[in-house]
């Protein structure tokens, strides 16, 4: 399994990532997730977002999640890209792509990685509202709950 974890401010190109994920001649299926910044949250308009992370641990925690996915499903390639720094509404925030021989492994691993990334990887979002005030986004209980279905 080939894996790649990138944490940076720059945007990413989904076509390029898809091509790279499919580059093994055994790859028949690529499942991909892209998280996008919305322009409101919890009833307020949001005009910008600042994404903070814990350099080093972020990469380690994502690599650990990818390894756990790879022990559960036969994977050929995994790419995780997470942007940090200042982002505006409509921006792509996160990319998780998984290549596999067959689609069920690709889908399951892609969703598994997103679910664990949401609850383990040390990123924090701070929103800027239209009145200029800022607030740290609260973690969602539903994200912790969604891990339940991966219990073995």
């Amino acid at each position: 399994m080939q894996s790649r974890v990138l944490i940076h401010q720059a945007d990413f190109d989904v076509s390029e990532e898809c091509r790279a994920l499919a580059s093994s001649n055994r790859c028949g299926a690529v499942a991909q997730f892209v998280g996008v910044m919305r322009d409101y949250n919890e009833g307020d308009n949001v005009v910008a977002m600042e994404l903070e992370h814990y350099p080093g641990m972020t990469e380690r925690s994502i690599e650990s999640i990818i390894e756990r996915a790879n022990t559960r499903w036969p994977l050929l390639s995994v790419t995780v890209i997470h942007r940090v720094g200042k982002l505006l509404p409509g921006a792509q925030i996160v990319f998780v792509g998984v290549g596999a021989m067959h689609r069920h492994a690709a889908f399951a691993a892609c969703e598994f990685i997103m679910d664990y990334l949401k609850t383990e990887a040390p990123f924090w979002k701070k929103e800027k509202k239209s009145d200029g005030s800022e607030r740290w986004v609260d973690a969602r209980v539903s994200d912790a709950e969604s891990l339940g279905r991966w219990a073995e």
Binding site: H82, A121, A139
Partner: protein
């Protein structure tokens, strides 16, 4: 000497992202929290003693009873909200 890091809301609350702490002997996560709160006061209690405060030792999730040794990197942070 250990390195202690704070992120996000806690970094802002404490007004610092990183500090070093002299370690006289091997200690636990809980001991370190209590020591920092005792020295620092209310804001430190809010950050370190909240029910959902997370701790990582050497970039791996750690719990109150886990040991901290000289040279370790310890981080305290609120629940994560990436993705």
């Amino acid at each position: 000497m250990i390195k202690v890091l704070f992120f996000a809301k806690y970094r802002e609350l404490l007004g610092l992202g990183q500090m070093t702490v002299e370690l006289h002997s091997t200690t636990t996560v809980a001991d370190l929290k209590n020591r920092l709160v005792k020295e620092g006061g209310d804001h430190w209690a809010q950050a370190l003693l909240a029910d959902n405060t997370l701790c990582a030792v050497n970039q791996t999730i750690a719990h109150d009873g886990d040991a901290i040794a000289d040279g370790d990197e310890v981080a305290f942070y609120p629940p994560v909200t990436g993705g």
